[in-house]
Symmetry: C2
Subunit: 341 residues, 2 copies
DNA sequence: TTGTACGCGTTATCAA
DNA sequence: TTGATAACGCGTACAA
């Protein structure tokens, strides 16, 4: 990559580097002829300013870091899609990090990011993460941060989430209106904000219809099929087994469906399922899977916009009031033969 | 992000920046006491070397660029997962770009990358791309490049692909052994290497069983459902409609299944389908979908390893022989009640 | 209108 | 053992 520098141009044209710089930068005080000369030479030899030199000079990289639990997860890859779209339009690069749901790995990623190189950070917390002091510290040191989806009350910055309470409430209510009375809830790590909100929504719906809440019906699962099998076995061996299940995330919903199929449980006759998911294709294939679709693309777009605003506002030091933006989920009922709300 | 610099340490400790640098870097000629002093101060104030300054100095960024058609595509997000895993372990950052299957967008991304800031490039070509002169130019200027999945004969560098010929051959053969004789092939952009190889494999399988090849049975599709509907209509309105379909990619396979369902075509009774896919969860749900699973994670890992080797070898200027690495696909037959091979 | 000098943070070279 | 200086590429304040 032997690229030409401003110095090369200056030497070739017998000018000073500053004159070349001015000519390229379109500054005012410059002889039109000189300017033309420089620009033509630059074009001819395909001059590109070295972004790293600029970064060093301006102390900003025009790139943002994104930490997600897993890239290879339809929800997050859609979010990243949205982030990339906005960032691209505003001239920023996107640097990807994965926490793999691990607190330690997230912590290492934060350390990398702390040594700057990115102008801001978008993060969705790992399932293991129970302590966000490192993130707070980074924020207090001045790093613009926006949290999305899996957020924390303990940090005061912009947050973009979907309405998990409402989503879980509506989904549970849908099951109840279908006639289900014994509804299980299989969800993710109990540390996560999304989990807490969804459990609240689930319980609120049960309360509304005066259905007793049974803790044994609430299961926290990781994404392994062994764990799902264990959970399903536990649920089915209850004296009073469930007739409906509310799952969250593509993996849990699909894993649950697949496990039930291997056990020859018919859906929705024996058990009805609602899942939070973004795998529209998959839900097309499985008519029994009513889904709560999350606004993943918008979440990425909104988060990126907010972060870039923060980054660019920072220089003009306008004080910012942090807000939490809640995006709406959408309940899509696949099997209209059963019920509709 | 007011981080401490080497200069700050020097000032605070009444030393020169070079001494501090040496102490931190663990160089030899240094007084143990001074060294200890510096290191302790650095730790206390959480000193981190500025990676951008290092990049400028060493003229390398320790980051690699990745251009994919769409992040939000299970195949590519899995590839990126593999890339990220390897890069992380070897101390490189991953910067993501999307071409959205557009030649123009790919071209703009290449321009960004050409102005260095990344030490190497991993790319899977856009569906529209028919001219890779820009990529070749970049490569000739010294940028280490590895192509994966959607490659081109016109450029001489490492390539990592899956065995698309074999995959399509085996899949087609599977349909033939199931008793299908009129097999359609719905595939992606005709420009793509993967498309060409798959069509070859499909034709080779038909030839082996002396089944005539009918061009009307080969359809090039984009990912829109309108286009899929059109194609299915065309196929079904043939005097001799297909009794089997070979699709490629998750979207085409799922789109095809969904469209057939809306037309009340039963699967596999009326039409049997084989799809290249990575949506294992989705294929779990649809027993009729026999799939050719592509080694996406390995593809990402292998590509990243090769690229990083190229980057690090470059400095020692060992001549490199470029190779094409072919990874094996795996045929997974979901509906064992029909046939097995 | 153009050139000189400096600084961004770091390391390597050379002198002390 | 340590310090001063140059260099990476760029932009800009200041001098000419």
């Amino acid at each position: 990559m032997e690229l030409i520098t401003i110095k090369d141009i200056a030497k070739a044209l017998n000018l000073s580097t500053s004159t070349v710089s001015r000519a390229l930068r379109g500054s005012y005080e410059i002889n039109p002829d000189t300017k033309k000369l420089v620009i033509e030479y630059a074009e001819k030899y395909n001059y590109r300013p070295n972004p790293i030199a600029l970064s060093l000079k301006e102390n900003k990289s025009r790139s943002i870091g994104v930490i997600v639990p897993e890239i290879d997860n339809p929800f997050f890859s859609q979010v990243i899609n949205g982030i990339e779209a906005i960032s691209y339009n505003r001239g920023y690069h996107v640097v990807i990090f994965q926490s793999h749901e691990s607190f330690e790995r997230e912590s290492i990623n934060l350390k990398h990011i702390a040594s700057r190189r990115v102008d801001g950070l978008l993060i969705s917390l790992a399932g293991e993460t129970n302590d966000i002091s490192q993130l707070k510290e980074l924020h207090e040191k001045g790093m613009p941060i926006v949290l999305f989806d899996r957020v924390s009350d303990e940090i005061n910055t912009h947050k973009v989430i979907s309405d998990n309470f409402e989503g879980a409430f509506t989904a549970t209510e849908h099951l109840i209106r279908e006639g289900r009375r014994r509804i299980a809830h299989i969800t993710a790590s109990p540390y996560l904000s999304i989990t807490k909100e969804r459990v609240k929504g689930y319980i609120a719906a049960l309360n509304k219809y005066e259905i007793p809440v049974d803790k044994a019906m609430i299961k926290y699962s990781n994404y392994s099929s062994e764990n799902m099998e264990l959970i399903i076995d536990e649920l089915l061996s209850e004296t009073n087994p469930p007739d409906g299940i509310l799952t969250v995330s593509d993996r849990l919903a699909l894993g649950c469906l697949a496990t039930l199929k291997t056990k020859n449980i018919t859906i929705p006759e024996q058990i009805s399922i609602v899942g939070f998911t973004n795998l529209k294709a998959a839900s097309m294939l499985e008519p029994a899977l009513t889904t709560v679709v999350q606004p993943s693309l918008q979440m990425g777009q909104r988060s990126a916009e907010l972060l870039l605003d923060l980054i660019e506002r920072k220089s003009s030091s306008i004080p910012t009031t942090y807000q939490t933006f809640k995006l709406y989920t959408e309940l899509i009922i696949r099997d209209s033969s059963i019920v509709s709300i």
